[in-house]
Amino acid sequence: MAPRHMPECLMSFFEVADAAVAAAIEAGARYADARVMHRRYESMSVRNTEVEDLTQTEDAGIGVRALVGSSWGFHALPDLTEAGARRAGRAATEIARASARVPGPPLELVEVEVRVDSWANPCRIDPLSVSLSEKGDLLVETTRLMVEHGADIAEASYSIWDARIWFTSSAGHRIEQHIRKCGAGSSATAIGEHETQRRSSPRQYGTAGWELVEDLDLIGSAPQLASEARALLTAPPCPEGTTTLILGSEQMALQIHESVGHAVELDRILGWEAAFAGTSWLDLSQLGNLQYGSPLMNITADPTIPGALGSFGYDDEGTPAAPRDIVRDGIWVGVLAGRDSAAVAGLDYAGSVRSDGWARLPMVRMTNVGLLPGPHSLEEMIAETSEGVFMETNRSWSIDDKRLNFQFGCEIGWEIRNGKRGRMLRNPTYTGIGPVFWRSMDMLGGADELIVWGTPNCGKGQPSQIGHTGHPAVPARFTNVRVGVRG
């Protein structure tokens, strides 16, 4: 389906993309691809029952990649005429020629099956068709209940993304995708004399319709979040020390994202992100041998999970979505790769290259990187812990440029003594070294505790891009972890 305002006299969007690719090739590129995108975005945020922001945006444009020798160029324009597309294609090749002033080693792309196809994610209730008043009422009522139960600042918000993509390449791809995503969350903040405390609902996002938000029960969770935020102001601080740590599944999603997902991005491993996002502690020579974590640790990258935020039919290089093992029985076995980075690394698979829109260069991004469930339950973990801390809901995250040393803070913690959950703890933090931490994982939640979390704010790249990633996760227990670090 074409965007609402597409004049009939215009070319089809495949033809627009083809024109750009043809112009790039005519200008001297040996490979080119183009993505035409039409995007709509809507978000609303409510603060203390007042709508503080309603944003509705819509844009369309074309982004073209051209490869000259071993050098890439990318150009993007919001012009979907044939002339505009050809201009973008020529400019991409011109930029690639400039790149060749500082050229790299010879570059090939790993083979990918050339397909003509279309794909759309399941979406029962189109989120953009739900009335603004219905969506606003949900957020207003959520914040009203939070204020009523003690929140000084009550916030609730949702976001909706609707993107239609037409991808063609000089190899012959013609792929159309329609990807709809949405999600929502809320938080209650209590302001004390010297600090603030916050409790948030699970912020859940996915490639799904508004049914995802309806299932979140924002209103039902509001009173408890507000009272917990207030109670945290007077709760004892998380004690400093080394202890047994149990993480709830939402915090596990963050742990996976930061200390596994980014570490296995092949562009980082190859040094392509060295000056900004950083590199990785992983060395390709260790692929297939390195003990990343305990034998309970099984991580996959799977963009085919229905409804997960990192799901798609094809990545932005036209590679079909396919699951891949990243860590198997604790051993590192896979990476997230693109066609060029995979070729440089001597691997034969790609499939993890995406951009955040038509104006940005596709690059290696996480898909749905998650932990397969284990044999235990959260209840068992607590029961089998004589002394420790249980933490949940991320509050802060910081990790070094090799994705090795991390310090994460959670919104709330509970003391665990003699197999029982005890006092609430405020400002819980924990720190560690990725592989040491993952090797200490000795209990892992089961399939009935699995939640596929969505992270809609993953930053990477220059110019900066915001990625959407999914993270299946279950609660887990770790031993000998340093907790309670503070300034």
């Binding site: 844009d59 369309a60 500082v102 060295a274 802060s396 995250w397 910081s398 440029d401 720190t431």
Partner: protein, 462 residues
Amino acid sequence: MSAELDIAAQVLELVRHRAPNAAAEVFVETHRLALTRFANSFIHQNVADEGTSVWLRLHHDGRTAIGSANIGPLSSLDDFVARTLTASQLLPVDPSWPGLNGAESAEAALHGQNNLDEATFHASPDDRAAVVRAFVDAAEGLPTAGYCRTTGSTAAYANTAGRSVTGAASTAAVDAIARTPSSDGVARIASVRLSDMDGARLGAVAVAKARAGTEPVTLPAGQYPVVLEPAAVIDVLISLGLYGFNGKALLERRSFIAPGEAQFDPVISLVDDPTLGLPFDIEGTPKRRLNLVTDGVTQTAVHDRRTAAALKVSSTGHAIAGGARLGPFPQNLLLSPAPEAPAGSSTVDDLPIADPSVAPLIAGMERGLLVSDLWYTRVLDPRTVVMTGLTRNGVWLIENGELVRPVRNLRFTQSYPSALAPGAVRAVGSRAITIPYNWGLLTATAPALAVESWNFTGDATG
């Protein structure tokens, strides 16, 4: 009339046609962004994009809505206006609508303030590649990585109260490292002009720092006096701006700042100085130099029209798209450098790893650390601006006023206001450098800074 102002006028006319009584304001910007990125000493990503976007905020029947879109052949301004107007009708009443800027003399206030260099605005891929080539060539064979970026912007603001302003800006920036197997050295600079980007000199600086950082030793965690180089200082400044000098945070009692109180050391004077970027904000308010801290005394937060109205002050020209949630924060922070080097400060004559203006700060330190850069800093408590993060791109141990050896990266957890509190700052450097922040297009200008204590909680290996 500029193309942007013409679009803004069209949008306002469409609003008047559909809702004659609505108050409306339009911000239209045409941007060019080009970034040439290199790693392993070759250009691996080289991108450019351009386009025109329109932002509309309208207030009708007591309700306020915002819409934004890009301008292209698929765009219908009439549909855009209709959609935004419909949204406003579905929203609850907005009791804190601050009204529009009036028509008075905005053009005069902005006259001549464009931060624009035409050559940078129109810089070519070859121009940026030449800077990269020079940086790589200066690296003496060490692997290099980073970027050279140019931007250009022409913009217009117009509203139904009669105000209309136009402006233009350009920026250029280089942020790059040279690498050894055990160390990285960084060089950064931002300016209105690409011609200020001396790739060879920046490459030489990065190489010198990288070579001086090889084979670092591990240091135990603890409190250390530190000399923060400008790149590290701007992380402190931007965090203070985001969480402290943010008008919305002040309004909601989430900020630590207390205007009129001596919250900082007397050597600290902080201003927001719009020497880069457009000369007005998205509400059409002119930007101007604004004192935030003078001789240690907090002066004010920054405001958009909404936070200003709530606190019965004037907007300081800091409205941004999306600012309703985040709040207004400083965009061009400048920590004023010391007028001259502190006395007795010249024992370090040749300092290849830092700017010469840093030498006096090192010379005055018995034992401490020189820190090039802070990385992945995240707030633990917004009210006290307690941050955790890591050092990056070089740390050196200082003993008896001299740099004695490189140190492995360290993790810290530190309240930034406490580090700059009265009595906590030893000295401010004498040369301020404008540096691109590591996220988005923010920049800040800062000299080096020596502080009494910084709380390192562990080395980066655990």
